[in-house]
Symmetry: C2
Subunit: 526 residues, 2 copies
């Protein structure tokens, strides 16, 4: 569940100005200094990623046609350029969970208040953000009805009904849907919005062992979404007691990091709910021995937040940078017809190139518009982040070659047309790998191991991703948050990595000086 | 848009008792008379399709595990058995519209009241059913916010922004989402619910010709969903002025018919909106001559209603009957291990059969549970509508054959195991065709051509699907509705078929006696 997303919403103080997306309409702010390319083409960004990250982000998602700001604050239009990325991830994840015998279903958007309030810890986490329907047409409803912020309480009364005996287990359901969390400050498109799209899986097992195993299987799929598709390195880890899902037993997550802002971002979460909800909702079954037992439950989710993290990690001062695996256009082919050149021949070569690539399953397209210059088109498709540009001009035609330009590093190379496909396939694969490696290198450069409080304070001020030995006590984390509270937001635990570095005997907690029990990542976060 | 669905909601009087789904919980009503099979197995239905259609429908969707009734009236849980049918249709329709260069996107669930109310005719149609969010957490919102009943008004302000010149056209977007129409009476799962799933396409063109052509291209896809996937014959036609989409220019639809209740049901609609919305939302563009022009728009939708129509048309007194093309399990394999038989051999044969079929892409599964008898399993999978059952017992094992039993007509046939795959493929294809043909035969038997008012009144009372020559005047339709109003609901026009039968010179309107201009289908409807 992005259930832990709600936790962050309570920590309003952690969100600082530099990460805030400007509303409304980033375009309205683009009157100031402009990059050279902007003067030339009317395209380009007014803000630089390193100088004003928040404004840059707003501008890049709007100019890159991922998002349109909407007239209700905190709600955004997901345009086709972003939607296709969502669909690509879905077409990976959905078959994977089906292999695990998880079935899709659809539960209602609405929850009645009595059911919503059944699990006390859970509702405490969500109550302030719940949107309530109180009227239909001109009439008041008898009872206000809530819009789901997540579906535990929507679903579990029916799990109780459907599960009778051990043969009804495991019960493994998933739904792709929208949820609503009416937060009042600091919305950021994709990262924190009042409505977002996600999948939410809800499973019930006879034993804790099965539940534990599934939590990690799902976490591995989330890692693959980030690392294999979005080319973003993530850390698999366990959340602290303070940061776990409201009402659950323990929470695992994949954590990404945005070097520019020095903030961690919870990428997706896989929770073991233990038997807490099964107790509240009376989800009992008769086990093989004929005894009454309670089920063990998990819930897990990833959301459209993934897309925002991708923009933040890879984007640059020319706009979006899309990893080839999720780009709806992987290769854009642009004719460069100099005066007196064989324009028709060039156009034919462009079309033939697109055809060759598309036949092999590469998502290629040609921009043959006659009312824009090649230069304008370069900027346009750079803004939209297309991984590879192919230019074809008279000289290329004469030499039976094309020119390929990489979006990620600007490298240019001439490709002979007779081995075009193979070369393009290699380039695409290379771009995907390079993006991941570059992101990993930048992320790793931010990781700092600290062992004392003084080192910690310095590292926080330097926007580091901090790895520190910790005593794993809730009071100590509260204390860390209190002591680092400031304009930029408090530091908190991000996760304790599943792969723990060695902990030498006698290592002390960086914050309390008590014996440390685990290595934990700390930092500011979204 | 199932935009025309909203029209029907206003005609509350058209819904009669026999078609109403009983709420809450069909199961609670199953204490009365029971079918023999029910006594034997604990399964089976308490109600017969021909005797009490409404109760039968409620029971079959619950016992068939398509729907669970939810604690908020008019909202239903779509269980995996139904969801997989929705996904199958989606995996046909989505690639088809992508071939037409229609792109997916996602607009917000919420609409601000000023935008919602911009198109007067349109809002008049929807206003009584709009659900309003007025609170978040404990706070009142400054302005109430509507939940989309459909997305014309959500989307078109942005069409106005995005469309500048003729090169921005056509703009063709689609979204898969939930919508909410808070109707206060007579909810019926799938057919009429307060929240439902659909796709809604919204397109804008430079010329009326392009818009007209797309309306019919989409309508053809809707016909294919019904006829090729759901095995339900539909009539393509044009809606009358009274029945068209609120605010549109004209509406086309595919119309299905439920012989048991004698009611038409609007299967899906493809609307040409003309320039009405473009005027209201100022969706202008500069055409090739440099002049300002208004776009021509379409919107079109099909919803989870499709699944309800399928249940109503094909289901029988043993439960659901699923067309193979949309069944998530096409073949269920059941071991029949008589006492002292080679149980392991039979189980192995079952597994081998499933494997053979699955490898060839047939969705097959074995029910090897040891706590249910073969007879119980037969009833169970019949209830769930699996198209083909394969039984394997000792005799089958000895003869190297399996027994196949068709769900649609109960026919049994022994299949040699060495040509099993081919035979099963033939059977599946045959079942799909037979279902369509049987449904068409039943539907056609209900069609009655009438030429006079007296014939019309008799045909209405006999629950016919009436084809009559009509003068196509709005006042005359209003008059027909007024004159047929009664306990069972008024008759109204369903559609004027695109394929018009010959109209002999001098033919008179059945209702007004004026010269007839077209043949139109009439009847009661959902």
């Amino acid at each position: 569940m992005a259930g832990s997303e709600e936790k962050q919403s309570k920590a309003k103080e952690t969100k600082a100005k530099e990460t805030k997306a400007k509303e409304p309409k980033a375009k309205a702010t683009s009157g100031g200094k402009k990059k050279e390319v902007k003067k030339e083409t009317g395209l380009g960004l007014s803000h630089k990623k390193d100088e004003n990250f928040g404004e840059w982000y707003s501008e890049v998602i709007v100019n890159g046609e991922m998002i349109e700001y909407y007239d209700i604050s905190g709600c955004y239009i997901i345009r086709p350029w972003a939607m296709s990325i969502w669909e690509t991830m879905q077409s990976f994840f959905d078959p994977e969970i089906k292999k695990m015998k998880i079935q899709n279903c659809y539960f209602p958007l609405f929850v009645s208040p009595t059911v919503l309030q059944k699990e006390t810890d859970h509702i405490e986490g969500f109550a302030p953000e719940v949107a309530w329907v109180t009227k239909s047409g001109e009439s008041d409803l008898e009872v206000p009805i809530a819009i789901r912020p997540t579906s535990e309480t929507v679903m579990y009364p029916y799990y109780s009904k459907w599960i009778r005996g051990h043969r009804d287990l495991p019960l493994k359901l998933n739904q792709w849907c929208n949820v609503v969390r009416w937060e009042f400050s600091n919305p950021t498109p994709f990262i924190r919005s009042r409505e977002f799209l996600w999948q939410e899986g809800h499973t019930a097992f006879a034993t804790k062992e099965e539940a534990d195993a599934e939590v990690l299987d799902i976490l591995e799929l989330y890692r693959r979404i980030y690392e294999e598709f979005l080319a973003i390195p993530v850390i698999k880890g366990k959340k602290s007691e303070l940061e776990k899902f409201a009402g659950g037993l323990y929470t695992t997550s994949v954590e990404a990091f945005i070097p520019n802002t020095g903030r961690g971002v919870q990428g997706a979460t896989s929770h073991c709910l233990g038997q807490n909800f099964s107790k509240m909702f009376e989800i009992n079954f008769e086990n093989e021995k004929g005894e009454k037992a309670m089920v063990w439950q998990n819930s897990w989710a990833y959301s459209t937040r993934t897309i925002g993290v991708m923009v933040m990690v890879h984007g640059d001062d020319k706009g979006l940078v899309l990893p080839p695996k999720v780009a709806s256009v992987q290769v854009i082919v642009i004719p460069v017809p100099y005066k007196d050149a064989d324009t028709q021949g060039i156009f034919d070569a462009c079309n033939a190139t697109v055809e060759t690539l598309c036949e092999a399953g590469i998502r290629a397209s040609a921009d043959l518009r006659d009312n824009y210059s090649p230069g304008w088109k370069y900027s346009h498709w750079e803004m939209r982040g297309v991984p590879l540009r192919i230019e074809i001009g008279p000289k290329d035609l004469a030499n039976n070659q094309v020119r390929a330009v990489r979006r990620d590093n600007g490298a240019k190379v001439d490709l002979p047309r007779d081995c075009l496909l193979k070369k393009v396939e290699e380039l695409i694969e290379n771009i995907q790998d390079s993006l991941f490696n570059a992101a990993k290198q930048k992320r790793d450069a931010c990781i700092q191991i600290v062992k004392t409080w003084d080192e910690f304070v310095v590292a926080v001020s330097q926007k580091k991703l901090i790895l520190a030995p910790w005593c794993d006590e809730e009071e100590v984390e509260k204390d860390v948050k209190a002591r680092t509270k400031g304009e930029m937001g408090a530091a908190k635990s991000l996760c304790s990595p599943l792969e723990q570095p060695e902990m030498p005997e006698g290592t002390k907690c960086f914050a309390s000086g008590k014996p440390a029990t685990k290595w934990t990542y700390w930092g500011r976060s979204y």
